[in-house]
Symmetry: C2
Protein backbone atom coordinates (compact mmCIF):
# COMPACT_ATOMS: atom_id res chain seq x y z
CA UNK A 1 0.00 0.00 0.00
CA UNK A 2 1.53 3.31 -1.12
CA UNK A 3 0.57 6.93 -0.64
CA UNK A 4 -0.43 7.01 -4.28
CA UNK A 5 -2.88 4.11 -3.73
CA UNK A 6 -4.55 5.99 -0.86
CA UNK A 7 -4.84 9.19 -2.88
CA UNK A 8 -6.20 7.36 -5.94
CA UNK A 9 -8.86 5.66 -3.81
CA UNK A 10 -9.92 8.91 -2.16
CA UNK A 11 -10.01 10.93 -5.39
CA UNK A 12 -11.68 8.32 -7.58
CA UNK A 13 -14.44 10.03 -9.58
CA UNK A 14 -13.56 13.50 -8.28
CA UNK A 15 -12.89 16.50 -10.55
CA UNK A 16 -9.43 16.77 -12.09
CA UNK A 17 -9.56 20.28 -13.54
CA UNK A 18 -8.10 23.01 -11.39
CA UNK A 19 -9.52 26.47 -10.90
CA UNK A 20 -7.27 29.50 -11.29
CA UNK A 21 -6.25 29.63 -7.65
CA UNK A 22 -7.20 28.56 -4.12
CA UNK A 23 -6.22 30.07 -0.83
CA UNK A 24 -6.57 28.45 2.59
CA UNK A 25 -5.31 28.60 6.13
CA UNK A 26 -4.69 25.86 8.69
CA UNK A 27 -3.70 26.33 12.32
CA UNK A 28 -0.54 24.92 13.83
CA UNK A 29 -1.24 22.45 16.62
CA UNK A 30 0.66 21.59 19.74
CA UNK A 31 0.28 18.04 20.99
CA UNK A 32 -0.57 17.56 24.66
CA UNK A 33 -0.20 13.80 24.15
CA UNK A 34 2.56 13.42 21.59
CA UNK A 35 2.80 11.56 18.32
CA UNK A 36 6.15 9.80 18.68
CA UNK A 37 6.86 6.70 16.63
CA UNK A 38 5.39 5.25 13.45
CA UNK A 39 3.99 1.84 12.77
CA UNK A 40 4.23 2.56 9.03
CA UNK A 41 6.87 4.95 7.69
CA UNK A 42 5.40 5.32 4.22
CA UNK A 43 1.88 6.23 5.33
CA UNK A 44 2.83 8.07 8.54
CA UNK A 45 0.75 5.70 10.63
CA UNK A 46 1.46 6.25 14.32
CA UNK A 47 2.15 3.74 17.06
CA UNK A 48 -0.22 5.60 19.39
CA UNK A 49 -3.16 7.98 19.26
CA UNK A 50 -2.39 11.59 20.13
CA UNK A 51 -4.18 14.74 21.22
CA UNK A 52 -3.48 18.36 20.37
CA UNK A 53 -4.64 21.91 20.75
CA UNK A 54 -4.75 24.03 17.61
CA UNK A 55 -3.29 27.52 17.76
CA UNK A 56 -6.08 29.62 16.25
CA UNK A 57 -4.60 32.27 13.98
CA UNK A 58 -1.05 30.92 14.20
CA UNK A 59 -0.40 28.53 11.39
CA UNK A 60 0.14 28.43 7.64
CA UNK A 61 -1.55 30.24 4.81
CA UNK A 62 -1.24 28.60 1.41
CA UNK A 63 -2.11 29.95 -2.01
CA UNK A 64 -1.90 27.39 -4.78
CA UNK A 65 -2.33 27.78 -8.51
CA UNK A 66 -1.56 25.59 -11.52
CA UNK A 67 1.36 26.90 -13.53
CA UNK A 68 3.59 26.21 -16.51
CA UNK A 69 7.15 24.91 -16.57
CA UNK A 70 8.08 23.56 -13.19
CA UNK A 71 6.82 23.54 -9.62
CA UNK A 72 7.67 26.64 -7.66
CA UNK A 73 7.37 27.35 -3.96
CA UNK A 74 7.72 30.53 -2.01
CA UNK A 75 7.90 30.52 1.79
CA UNK A 76 7.50 33.66 3.83
CA UNK A 77 8.22 35.81 0.79
CA UNK A 78 11.29 33.92 -0.39
CA UNK A 79 11.48 31.61 -3.38
CA UNK A 80 12.88 28.28 -2.19
CA UNK A 81 15.50 26.53 -4.34
CA UNK A 82 14.04 23.42 -5.92
CA UNK A 83 17.01 21.50 -4.51
CA UNK A 84 16.26 22.45 -0.88
CA UNK A 85 14.80 19.57 1.11
CA UNK A 86 11.76 21.69 1.92
CA UNK A 87 10.99 21.99 -1.79
CA UNK A 88 11.75 18.40 -2.76
CA UNK A 89 9.52 17.12 0.04
CA UNK A 90 6.72 19.42 -1.09
CA UNK A 91 7.04 18.61 -4.78
CA UNK A 92 7.07 14.87 -4.06
CA UNK A 93 3.89 15.35 -2.07
CA UNK A 94 2.33 17.26 -4.98
CA UNK A 95 3.24 14.32 -7.25
CA UNK A 96 0.44 12.44 -5.51
CA UNK A 97 -2.13 14.92 -6.76
CA UNK A 98 -1.18 15.85 -10.33
CA UNK A 99 -4.11 14.99 -12.63
CA UNK A 100 -1.60 14.60 -15.46
CA UNK A 101 2.16 14.22 -15.26
CA UNK A 102 2.51 17.68 -16.83
CA UNK A 103 0.51 19.56 -14.17
CA UNK A 104 2.74 21.95 -12.24
CA UNK A 105 1.91 24.09 -9.22
CA UNK A 106 2.91 27.44 -7.84
CA UNK A 107 2.68 27.37 -4.04
CA UNK A 108 2.93 30.49 -1.93
CA UNK A 109 3.12 29.68 1.76
CA UNK A 110 3.34 31.98 4.69
CA UNK A 111 3.84 30.79 8.25
CA UNK A 112 2.60 32.94 11.08
CA UNK A 113 4.61 30.69 13.42
CA UNK A 114 8.42 30.13 13.36
CA UNK A 115 9.44 27.59 10.75
CA UNK A 116 10.96 24.20 11.68
CA UNK A 117 12.02 24.70 15.27
CA UNK A 118 9.39 22.61 16.91
CA UNK A 119 6.52 25.01 16.35
CA UNK A 120 4.63 22.60 14.15
CA UNK A 121 4.88 24.58 10.94
CA UNK A 122 5.00 21.44 8.80
CA UNK A 123 1.72 20.29 10.35
CA UNK A 124 -0.12 23.49 9.48
CA UNK A 125 1.66 23.66 6.12
CA UNK A 126 0.53 20.25 4.89
CA UNK A 127 -2.97 20.70 6.30
CA UNK A 128 -3.32 24.03 4.52
CA UNK A 129 -1.93 22.51 1.33
CA UNK A 130 -4.38 19.61 1.09
CA UNK A 131 -7.24 21.94 1.98
CA UNK A 132 -6.07 24.26 -0.79
CA UNK A 133 -5.86 21.39 -3.28
CA UNK A 134 -9.38 20.32 -2.30
CA UNK A 135 -10.60 23.80 -3.15
CA UNK A 136 -8.45 24.20 -6.24
CA UNK A 137 -9.90 21.05 -7.81
CA UNK A 138 -13.30 21.23 -6.17
CA UNK A 139 -13.02 17.66 -4.85
CA UNK A 140 -15.55 18.26 -2.11
CA UNK A 141 -13.74 15.92 0.30
CA UNK A 142 -14.90 15.81 3.89
CA UNK A 143 -12.63 16.65 6.82
CA UNK A 144 -11.87 13.02 7.57
CA UNK A 145 -10.49 12.52 4.08
CA UNK A 146 -8.54 15.79 4.31
CA UNK A 147 -7.08 14.64 7.61
CA UNK A 148 -5.93 11.40 6.01
CA UNK A 149 -4.40 13.24 3.06
CA UNK A 150 -2.66 15.76 5.30
CA UNK A 151 -1.24 12.84 7.33
CA UNK A 152 0.46 11.54 4.18
CA UNK A 153 2.47 14.79 4.11
CA UNK A 154 3.27 14.96 7.81
CA UNK A 155 1.74 12.85 10.56
CA UNK A 156 0.77 15.70 12.86
CA UNK A 157 -0.77 17.58 9.92
CA UNK A 158 -3.72 15.21 10.30
CA UNK A 159 -4.67 17.22 13.40
CA UNK A 160 -4.28 20.64 11.82
CA UNK A 161 -7.46 20.35 9.77
CA UNK A 162 -9.43 21.24 12.94
CA UNK A 163 -9.48 23.97 15.55
CA UNK A 164 -9.55 23.38 19.31
CA UNK A 165 -8.75 20.07 20.96
CA UNK A 166 -8.16 17.36 18.37
CA UNK A 167 -7.61 13.64 18.74
CA UNK A 168 -5.78 11.69 16.08
CA UNK A 169 -6.83 8.05 16.21
CA UNK A 170 -3.90 5.71 15.65
CA UNK A 171 -6.16 3.22 13.90
CA UNK A 172 -5.15 -0.34 13.17
CA UNK A 173 -5.80 -0.82 9.46
CA UNK A 174 -2.84 -1.37 7.19
CA UNK A 175 -4.12 1.17 4.69
CA UNK A 176 -4.54 3.74 7.47
CA UNK A 177 -8.13 4.60 6.53
CA UNK A 178 -9.00 4.53 10.25
CA UNK A 179 -6.07 6.79 11.17
CA UNK A 180 -7.49 10.31 11.06
CA UNK A 181 -8.14 13.19 13.41
CA UNK A 182 -11.41 14.32 14.97
CA UNK A 183 -12.18 17.34 17.10
CA UNK A 184 -13.20 16.84 20.71
CA UNK A 185 -16.54 18.38 21.44
CA UNK A 186 -15.04 20.73 24.02
CA UNK A 187 -14.48 24.45 24.29
CA UNK A 188 -12.30 25.95 27.01
CA UNK A 189 -12.15 29.69 26.40
CA UNK A 190 -9.91 30.43 29.40
CA UNK A 191 -7.08 28.23 28.21
CA UNK A 192 -3.90 29.89 26.99
CA UNK A 193 -0.74 28.70 25.34
CA UNK A 194 2.46 30.73 25.65
CA UNK A 195 5.20 30.30 23.08
CA UNK A 196 8.76 30.78 24.30
CA UNK A 197 11.15 30.94 21.39
CA UNK A 198 14.52 29.81 22.65
CA UNK A 199 15.90 29.26 19.17
CA UNK A 200 14.17 29.93 15.87
CA UNK A 201 16.97 28.20 13.98
CA UNK A 202 16.20 25.13 11.96
CA UNK A 203 17.05 22.18 14.17
CA UNK A 204 19.92 19.81 13.49
CA UNK A 205 17.69 16.71 13.46
CA UNK A 206 14.13 17.02 12.18
CA UNK A 207 11.32 15.33 14.05
CA UNK A 208 10.91 12.76 11.29
CA UNK A 209 14.44 11.27 11.51
CA UNK A 210 14.45 11.95 15.26
CA UNK A 211 11.39 9.78 15.76
CA UNK A 212 12.82 6.99 13.64
CA UNK A 213 16.15 7.12 15.46
CA UNK A 214 14.39 6.94 18.84
CA UNK A 215 12.21 3.98 17.91
CA UNK A 216 15.22 2.15 16.51
CA UNK A 217 17.79 2.84 19.23
CA UNK A 218 16.17 3.93 22.49
CA UNK A 219 15.87 1.11 25.01
CA UNK A 220 13.19 3.13 26.81
CA UNK A 221 10.91 3.51 23.80
CA UNK A 222 9.31 0.14 24.60
CA UNK A 223 7.57 1.78 27.57
CA UNK A 224 6.27 4.76 25.58
CA UNK A 225 3.07 3.36 23.97
CA UNK A 226 1.50 2.45 27.29
CA UNK A 227 2.44 5.82 28.78
CA UNK A 228 0.88 7.61 25.81
CA UNK A 229 -2.33 5.57 26.07
CA UNK A 230 -2.71 6.41 29.77
CA UNK A 231 -2.00 10.09 29.18
CA UNK A 232 -4.48 10.31 26.32
CA UNK A 233 -7.28 8.96 28.51
CA UNK A 234 -6.25 11.26 31.36
CA UNK A 235 -6.19 14.33 29.11
CA UNK A 236 -9.62 13.61 27.66
CA UNK A 237 -11.07 13.21 31.11
CA UNK A 238 -9.32 16.40 32.32
CA UNK A 239 -10.73 18.31 29.34
CA UNK A 240 -14.24 16.96 29.95
CA UNK A 241 -13.98 18.01 33.61
CA UNK A 242 -12.17 21.30 32.80
CA UNK A 243 -9.61 20.25 35.40
CA UNK A 244 -6.67 22.44 34.43
CA UNK A 245 -4.21 21.08 36.98
CA UNK A 246 -4.73 17.57 35.67
CA UNK A 247 -4.52 18.70 32.05
CA UNK A 248 -1.27 20.58 32.64
CA UNK A 249 0.39 17.91 34.71
CA UNK A 250 -0.45 15.20 32.19
CA UNK A 251 0.71 17.24 29.20
CA UNK A 252 3.99 18.16 30.87
CA UNK A 253 4.62 14.62 32.01
CA UNK A 254 3.88 13.32 28.51
CA UNK A 255 6.34 15.74 26.90
CA UNK A 256 9.05 14.93 29.43
CA UNK A 257 8.58 11.20 28.87
CA UNK A 258 8.86 11.71 25.11
CA UNK A 259 12.08 13.68 25.53
CA UNK A 260 13.33 11.00 27.88
CA UNK A 261 12.91 8.37 25.14
CA UNK A 262 15.02 10.60 22.85
CA UNK A 263 17.70 11.27 25.47
CA UNK A 264 18.09 7.51 25.91
CA UNK A 265 18.55 6.99 22.16
CA UNK A 266 22.07 6.40 20.88
CA UNK A 267 23.57 8.68 19.77
CA UNK A 268 21.51 10.72 22.17
CA UNK A 269 18.89 13.04 20.77
CA UNK A 270 18.99 16.05 23.02
CA UNK A 271 16.86 18.85 21.62
CA UNK A 272 17.23 20.89 24.80
CA UNK A 273 19.48 23.90 24.91
CA UNK A 274 20.87 25.22 28.21
CA UNK A 275 18.22 27.92 28.02
CA UNK A 276 15.47 25.28 27.69
CA UNK A 277 16.58 23.80 31.02
CA UNK A 278 16.70 27.23 32.63
CA UNK A 279 13.13 27.89 31.47
CA UNK A 280 11.93 24.51 32.71
CA UNK A 281 13.36 25.32 36.13
CA UNK A 282 11.75 28.77 36.03
CA UNK A 283 8.39 27.16 35.33
CA UNK A 284 8.84 24.79 38.26
CA UNK A 285 9.68 27.76 40.50
CA UNK A 286 6.61 29.67 39.33
CA UNK A 287 4.44 26.67 40.15
CA UNK A 288 5.94 26.53 43.64
CA UNK A 289 5.07 30.21 43.96
CA UNK A 290 1.44 29.29 43.27
CA UNK A 291 1.06 30.07 39.55
CA UNK A 292 -0.64 27.12 37.82
CA UNK A 293 1.54 26.90 34.71
CA UNK A 294 2.79 23.81 32.89
CA UNK A 295 4.78 23.27 29.75
CA UNK A 296 5.08 21.03 26.76
CA UNK A 297 7.93 20.67 24.25
CA UNK A 298 8.18 19.10 20.84
CA UNK A 299 11.20 17.91 18.90
CA UNK A 300 13.04 21.18 19.35
CA UNK A 301 14.40 23.46 22.07
CA UNK A 302 11.35 25.69 22.38
CA UNK A 303 8.85 25.64 25.19
CA UNK A 304 5.09 26.03 25.07
CA UNK A 305 3.41 27.13 28.29
CA UNK A 306 -0.06 26.04 29.32
CA UNK A 307 -2.01 28.27 31.68
CA UNK A 308 -5.38 29.92 32.20
CA UNK A 309 -6.44 33.45 31.37
CA UNK A 310 -6.19 34.65 34.98
CA UNK A 311 -2.47 33.77 35.09
CA UNK A 312 -1.63 35.98 32.11
CA UNK A 313 -0.20 38.85 34.19
CA UNK A 314 2.08 36.51 36.15
CA UNK A 315 3.22 34.77 32.96
CA UNK A 316 3.97 38.05 31.19
CA UNK A 317 5.92 39.24 34.20
CA UNK A 318 8.00 36.06 34.33
CA UNK A 319 8.48 35.73 30.56
CA UNK A 320 8.41 39.19 28.95
CA UNK A 321 8.99 37.76 25.45
CA UNK A 322 6.20 35.19 25.58
CA UNK A 323 3.77 35.06 22.68
CA UNK A 324 0.36 34.25 24.13
CA UNK A 325 -2.27 32.37 22.14
CA UNK A 326 -5.94 32.05 23.10
CA UNK A 327 -7.03 29.02 21.05
CA UNK A 328 -10.76 29.43 21.69
CA UNK A 329 -10.94 33.23 21.37
CA UNK A 330 -11.02 34.94 18.00
CA UNK B 1 15.37 -9.64 57.57
CA UNK B 2 16.83 -6.42 58.96
CA UNK B 3 20.22 -4.76 58.71
CA UNK B 4 20.80 -5.74 62.31
CA UNK B 5 20.23 -9.43 61.46
CA UNK B 6 22.85 -9.26 58.69
CA UNK B 7 25.39 -7.55 60.92
CA UNK B 8 24.79 -9.99 63.80
CA UNK B 9 25.31 -12.95 61.47
CA UNK B 10 28.51 -11.53 60.03
CA UNK B 11 29.99 -10.53 63.39
CA UNK B 12 29.04 -13.66 65.33
CA UNK B 13 32.06 -14.78 67.34
CA UNK B 14 34.17 -11.77 66.33
CA UNK B 15 35.94 -9.50 68.85
CA UNK B 16 33.84 -6.80 70.54
CA UNK B 17 36.53 -4.75 72.24
CA UNK B 18 37.72 -1.71 70.34
CA UNK B 19 41.31 -0.51 70.05
CA UNK B 20 42.12 3.14 70.73
CA UNK B 21 41.67 4.25 67.14
CA UNK B 22 41.59 3.11 63.52
CA UNK B 23 42.21 5.08 60.39
CA UNK B 24 41.32 4.03 56.85
CA UNK B 25 40.71 5.35 53.36
CA UNK B 26 38.32 4.23 50.66
CA UNK B 27 38.14 5.56 47.10
CA UNK B 28 35.07 7.13 45.60
CA UNK B 29 33.74 5.22 42.61
CA UNK B 30 31.95 6.34 39.50
CA UNK B 31 29.55 3.85 37.97
CA UNK B 32 29.85 3.17 34.26
CA UNK B 33 26.76 0.96 34.50
CA UNK B 34 24.58 2.60 37.12
CA UNK B 35 22.91 1.34 40.25
CA UNK B 36 19.41 2.76 39.87
CA UNK B 37 16.53 1.13 41.71
CA UNK B 38 16.29 -1.16 44.72
CA UNK B 39 14.58 -4.48 45.10
CA UNK B 40 14.85 -4.11 48.88
CA UNK B 41 14.90 -0.65 50.49
CA UNK B 42 16.03 -1.79 53.91
CA UNK B 43 19.04 -3.77 52.75
CA UNK B 44 19.92 -1.62 49.72
CA UNK B 45 19.56 -4.57 47.41
CA UNK B 46 19.64 -3.41 43.79
CA UNK B 47 17.39 -4.32 40.90
CA UNK B 48 20.41 -4.72 38.63
CA UNK B 49 24.11 -5.42 38.84
CA UNK B 50 26.39 -2.43 38.25
CA UNK B 51 29.98 -1.66 37.34
CA UNK B 52 32.22 1.16 38.48
CA UNK B 53 35.69 2.61 38.33
CA UNK B 54 37.26 3.67 41.61
CA UNK B 55 38.96 7.04 41.76
CA UNK B 56 42.30 6.19 43.35
CA UNK B 57 43.29 8.87 45.85
CA UNK B 58 39.95 10.68 45.64
CA UNK B 59 37.62 9.42 48.29
CA UNK B 60 37.09 9.47 52.05
CA UNK B 61 39.47 9.17 54.94
CA UNK B 62 37.92 8.07 58.22
CA UNK B 63 39.39 8.05 61.71
CA UNK B 64 37.22 6.31 64.28
CA UNK B 65 37.65 5.97 68.01
CA UNK B 66 35.41 4.92 70.89
CA UNK B 67 34.44 7.84 73.09
CA UNK B 68 32.38 8.84 76.12
CA UNK B 69 29.07 10.70 76.19
CA UNK B 70 27.53 10.77 72.75
CA UNK B 71 28.44 10.07 69.15
CA UNK B 72 30.31 12.86 67.45
CA UNK B 73 31.16 13.39 63.81
CA UNK B 74 33.43 15.85 62.10
CA UNK B 75 33.41 16.26 58.33
CA UNK B 76 36.13 18.15 56.49
CA UNK B 77 37.18 19.84 59.73
CA UNK B 78 33.70 20.88 60.87
CA UNK B 79 31.73 19.30 63.69
CA UNK B 80 28.34 18.30 62.31
CA UNK B 81 25.24 18.97 64.39
CA UNK B 82 23.78 15.73 65.69
CA UNK B 83 20.44 16.85 64.26
CA UNK B 84 21.77 17.17 60.70
CA UNK B 85 20.60 14.35 58.43
CA UNK B 86 24.23 13.47 57.68
CA UNK B 87 24.83 12.80 61.39
CA UNK B 88 21.58 10.97 62.10
CA UNK B 89 22.16 8.67 59.13
CA UNK B 90 25.68 7.97 60.32
CA UNK B 91 24.74 7.38 63.96
CA UNK B 92 21.90 5.05 62.95
CA UNK B 93 24.40 3.11 60.90
CA UNK B 94 26.77 2.94 63.89
CA UNK B 95 23.87 1.54 65.96
CA UNK B 96 24.34 -1.65 63.97
CA UNK B 97 27.85 -2.10 65.33
CA UNK B 98 27.83 -1.06 69.00
CA UNK B 99 29.01 -3.99 71.11
CA UNK B 100 26.98 -2.55 73.99
CA UNK B 101 24.23 0.10 73.89
CA UNK B 102 26.59 2.48 75.72
CA UNK B 103 29.38 2.36 73.15
CA UNK B 104 29.83 5.74 71.48
CA UNK B 105 32.09 6.72 68.60
CA UNK B 106 34.02 9.75 67.51
CA UNK B 107 34.25 9.84 63.71
CA UNK B 108 36.53 12.22 61.86
CA UNK B 109 35.90 12.09 58.13
CA UNK B 110 37.59 13.98 55.37
CA UNK B 111 36.49 13.84 51.75
CA UNK B 112 39.01 14.51 49.04
CA UNK B 113 36.09 14.76 46.60
CA UNK B 114 33.19 17.27 46.73
CA UNK B 115 30.51 16.20 49.18
CA UNK B 116 26.98 15.20 48.09
CA UNK B 117 26.78 16.63 44.60
CA UNK B 118 26.93 13.39 42.70
CA UNK B 119 30.61 12.72 43.33
CA UNK B 120 29.93 9.56 45.29
CA UNK B 121 31.20 10.79 48.65
CA UNK B 122 28.67 8.71 50.57
CA UNK B 123 29.98 5.60 48.82
CA UNK B 124 33.58 6.22 49.84
CA UNK B 125 32.44 7.41 53.27
CA UNK B 126 30.54 4.26 54.21
CA UNK B 127 33.21 2.01 52.69
CA UNK B 128 35.90 3.77 54.72
CA UNK B 129 33.73 3.60 57.83
CA UNK B 130 33.13 -0.16 57.77
CA UNK B 131 36.79 -0.74 56.95
CA UNK B 132 37.70 1.43 59.93
CA UNK B 133 35.29 -0.45 62.20
CA UNK B 134 36.81 -3.74 61.03
CA UNK B 135 40.23 -2.49 62.09
CA UNK B 136 39.02 -0.83 65.28
CA UNK B 137 37.53 -4.07 66.56
CA UNK B 138 39.93 -6.42 64.81
CA UNK B 139 37.08 -8.39 63.26
CA UNK B 140 39.27 -9.73 60.46
CA UNK B 141 36.41 -9.69 57.95
CA UNK B 142 37.19 -10.36 54.31
CA UNK B 143 36.45 -7.89 51.55
CA UNK B 144 33.24 -9.61 50.55
CA UNK B 145 31.84 -9.15 54.05
CA UNK B 146 33.05 -5.53 54.13
CA UNK B 147 31.34 -4.93 50.79
CA UNK B 148 28.06 -6.28 52.19
CA UNK B 149 28.38 -4.14 55.33
CA UNK B 150 29.21 -1.02 53.32
CA UNK B 151 26.15 -1.70 51.15
CA UNK B 152 23.95 -1.49 54.25
CA UNK B 153 25.11 2.13 54.63
CA UNK B 154 24.83 3.14 50.99
CA UNK B 155 24.32 0.82 48.04
CA UNK B 156 27.18 2.10 45.93
CA UNK B 157 29.52 1.92 48.93
CA UNK B 158 29.66 -1.83 48.29
CA UNK B 159 31.89 -1.01 45.29
CA UNK B 160 34.20 1.40 47.15
CA UNK B 161 35.98 -1.36 49.05
CA UNK B 162 38.03 -2.03 45.90
CA UNK B 163 40.21 -0.10 43.50
CA UNK B 164 39.96 -0.26 39.72
CA UNK B 165 36.99 -1.67 37.85
CA UNK B 166 34.46 -3.17 40.24
CA UNK B 167 31.30 -5.15 39.62
CA UNK B 168 28.52 -5.22 42.19
CA UNK B 169 26.49 -8.36 41.76
CA UNK B 170 22.78 -7.72 42.23
CA UNK B 171 22.30 -11.16 43.74
CA UNK B 172 18.92 -12.76 44.23
CA UNK B 173 18.85 -13.85 47.87
CA UNK B 174 16.43 -12.13 50.19
CA UNK B 175 19.12 -11.64 52.82
CA UNK B 176 21.43 -10.09 50.22
CA UNK B 177 24.38 -12.31 51.11
CA UNK B 178 25.02 -12.75 47.37
CA UNK B 179 24.84 -9.00 46.71
CA UNK B 180 28.43 -7.78 47.03
CA UNK B 181 31.12 -6.25 44.87
CA UNK B 182 34.16 -7.86 43.31
CA UNK B 183 37.02 -6.33 41.37
CA UNK B 184 37.43 -7.14 37.70
CA UNK B 185 40.79 -8.63 36.96
CA UNK B 186 41.70 -5.77 34.64
CA UNK B 187 44.15 -2.91 34.67
CA UNK B 188 43.95 -0.11 32.13
CA UNK B 189 46.67 2.41 33.03
CA UNK B 190 45.86 4.81 30.17
CA UNK B 191 42.30 5.43 31.30
CA UNK B 192 41.45 8.83 32.74
CA UNK B 193 38.43 10.32 34.40
CA UNK B 194 37.88 14.07 34.37
CA UNK B 195 35.68 15.67 36.98
CA UNK B 196 33.77 18.77 35.92
CA UNK B 197 32.23 20.46 38.93
CA UNK B 198 29.21 22.39 37.69
CA UNK B 199 27.78 22.81 41.15
CA UNK B 200 29.29 21.69 44.44
CA UNK B 201 26.09 22.54 46.29
CA UNK B 202 24.21 19.80 48.07
CA UNK B 203 21.50 18.68 45.69
CA UNK B 204 17.80 19.28 46.26
CA UNK B 205 16.91 15.59 45.98
CA UNK B 206 19.42 13.01 47.16
CA UNK B 207 20.04 9.92 45.07
CA UNK B 208 18.27 7.73 47.62
CA UNK B 209 14.84 9.45 47.41
CA UNK B 210 15.49 10.19 43.73
CA UNK B 211 15.86 6.51 42.96
CA UNK B 212 12.75 5.60 44.91
CA UNK B 213 10.72 8.35 43.22
CA UNK B 214 11.86 7.16 39.78
CA UNK B 215 11.03 3.51 40.42
CA UNK B 216 7.61 4.50 41.77
CA UNK B 217 6.54 7.09 39.20
CA UNK B 218 8.55 6.83 35.98
CA UNK B 219 6.69 4.95 33.26
CA UNK B 220 10.02 4.37 31.53
CA UNK B 221 11.70 2.66 34.47
CA UNK B 222 10.22 -0.67 33.37
CA UNK B 223 12.69 -0.71 30.47
CA UNK B 224 15.75 0.09 32.62
CA UNK B 225 16.72 -3.35 34.02
CA UNK B 226 17.15 -4.88 30.58
CA UNK B 227 19.15 -1.86 29.39
CA UNK B 228 21.43 -2.12 32.42
CA UNK B 229 21.98 -5.84 31.89
CA UNK B 230 22.97 -5.31 28.26
CA UNK B 231 25.29 -2.42 29.14
CA UNK B 232 26.98 -4.37 31.92
CA UNK B 233 27.86 -7.21 29.54
CA UNK B 234 29.02 -4.72 26.91
CA UNK B 235 31.24 -2.86 29.38
CA UNK B 236 32.87 -6.02 30.65
CA UNK B 237 33.62 -7.12 27.14
CA UNK B 238 34.94 -3.63 26.24
CA UNK B 239 37.22 -3.68 29.29
CA UNK B 240 38.49 -7.16 28.45
CA UNK B 241 39.25 -6.01 24.89
CA UNK B 242 40.52 -2.57 26.03
CA UNK B 243 38.15 -1.12 23.44
CA UNK B 244 37.87 2.45 24.66
CA UNK B 245 35.31 3.64 22.11
CA UNK B 246 32.95 0.85 23.15
CA UNK B 247 33.55 1.48 26.84
CA UNK B 248 32.87 5.20 26.52
CA UNK B 249 29.83 4.87 24.29
CA UNK B 250 28.25 2.28 26.57
CA UNK B 251 28.92 4.26 29.76
CA UNK B 252 27.55 7.47 28.26
CA UNK B 253 24.49 5.73 26.89
CA UNK B 254 23.88 4.07 30.27
CA UNK B 255 24.04 7.38 32.13
CA UNK B 256 21.74 9.09 29.64
CA UNK B 257 19.21 6.28 29.91
CA UNK B 258 19.29 6.53 33.70
CA UNK B 259 18.70 10.28 33.54
CA UNK B 260 15.94 9.66 31.03
CA UNK B 261 14.12 7.45 33.55
CA UNK B 262 14.35 10.32 36.07
CA UNK B 263 13.21 12.96 33.61
CA UNK B 264 10.12 10.86 32.90
CA UNK B 265 9.29 10.59 36.62
CA UNK B 266 6.51 12.78 37.97
CA UNK B 267 7.23 15.32 39.32
CA UNK B 268 10.19 15.25 36.99
CA UNK B 269 13.61 14.68 38.47
CA UNK B 270 15.90 16.87 36.46
CA UNK B 271 19.37 16.97 37.99
CA UNK B 272 20.77 18.80 34.98
CA UNK B 273 21.58 22.47 35.17
CA UNK B 274 21.78 24.64 32.03
CA UNK B 275 25.55 24.36 32.33
CA UNK B 276 25.34 20.55 32.35
CA UNK B 277 23.60 20.66 28.98
CA UNK B 278 26.18 23.12 27.63
CA UNK B 279 28.97 20.75 28.70
CA UNK B 280 27.23 17.74 27.18
CA UNK B 281 27.02 19.61 23.89
CA UNK B 282 30.67 20.61 24.17
CA UNK B 283 31.64 16.97 24.65
CA UNK B 284 29.64 16.00 21.56
CA UNK B 285 31.42 18.73 19.60
CA UNK B 286 34.83 17.55 20.80
CA UNK B 287 34.00 14.04 19.67
CA UNK B 288 33.04 15.34 16.25
CA UNK B 289 36.42 17.09 16.18
CA UNK B 290 38.05 13.70 16.66
CA UNK B 291 38.77 13.64 20.42
CA UNK B 292 37.58 10.30 21.85
CA UNK B 293 35.89 11.58 25.01
CA UNK B 294 32.68 10.38 26.64
CA UNK B 295 30.86 11.30 29.79
CA UNK B 296 28.85 9.86 32.61
CA UNK B 297 26.65 11.58 35.18
CA UNK B 298 25.18 10.50 38.48
CA UNK B 299 22.23 11.87 40.44
CA UNK B 300 23.53 15.43 40.28
CA UNK B 301 24.46 18.14 37.78
CA UNK B 302 28.16 17.30 37.53
CA UNK B 303 29.86 15.59 34.65
CA UNK B 304 32.58 12.98 34.66
CA UNK B 305 34.63 12.67 31.49
CA UNK B 306 36.11 9.40 30.26
CA UNK B 307 39.15 9.55 28.01
CA UNK B 308 42.61 8.11 27.50
CA UNK B 309 45.95 9.55 28.55
CA UNK B 310 46.81 10.78 25.07
CA UNK B 311 43.72 13.02 25.01
CA UNK B 312 44.75 14.87 28.17
CA UNK B 313 46.05 17.99 26.37
CA UNK B 314 42.85 18.32 24.31
CA UNK B 315 40.70 17.83 27.40
CA UNK B 316 42.64 20.39 29.43
CA UNK B 317 42.35 22.88 26.59
CA UNK B 318 38.59 22.39 26.31
CA UNK B 319 37.91 22.26 30.06
CA UNK B 320 40.52 24.33 31.92
CA UNK B 321 38.93 23.57 35.30
CA UNK B 322 38.80 19.80 34.88
CA UNK B 323 40.21 17.65 37.68
CA UNK B 324 41.88 14.65 36.06
CA UNK B 325 42.10 11.29 37.82
CA UNK B 326 44.28 8.38 36.72
CA UNK B 327 42.64 5.43 38.50
CA UNK B 328 45.41 2.93 37.76
CA UNK B 329 48.39 5.24 38.36
CA UNK B 330 49.61 6.02 41.85
Amino acid sequence: MTKKDIVSNLLRGRPATPRAEAKTFAPANIALCKYWGKRNEELNLPVTSSLSLSLGALGSEVVIAPCEGSDRVELNGQVISSEASFATRLFEFLDLFRPSPETRFNVIARNTIPTAAGFASSASGFAALVTALNELFGWGLDKRALSILARLGSGSASRSVYDGFVEWHAGSREDGMDSYAEPLNARWPEIRMGLLTISAQTKKTGSRPGMKHTVETSPLYAAWPEKAALDLAELKSAIAAQDFERLGRTAESNALAMHATMIAAWPTLLYWLPESVRMMQRIGDLREEGVPVFFTMDAGPNIKLLFLENSEPAIRAAFPDVQIVAPFVN
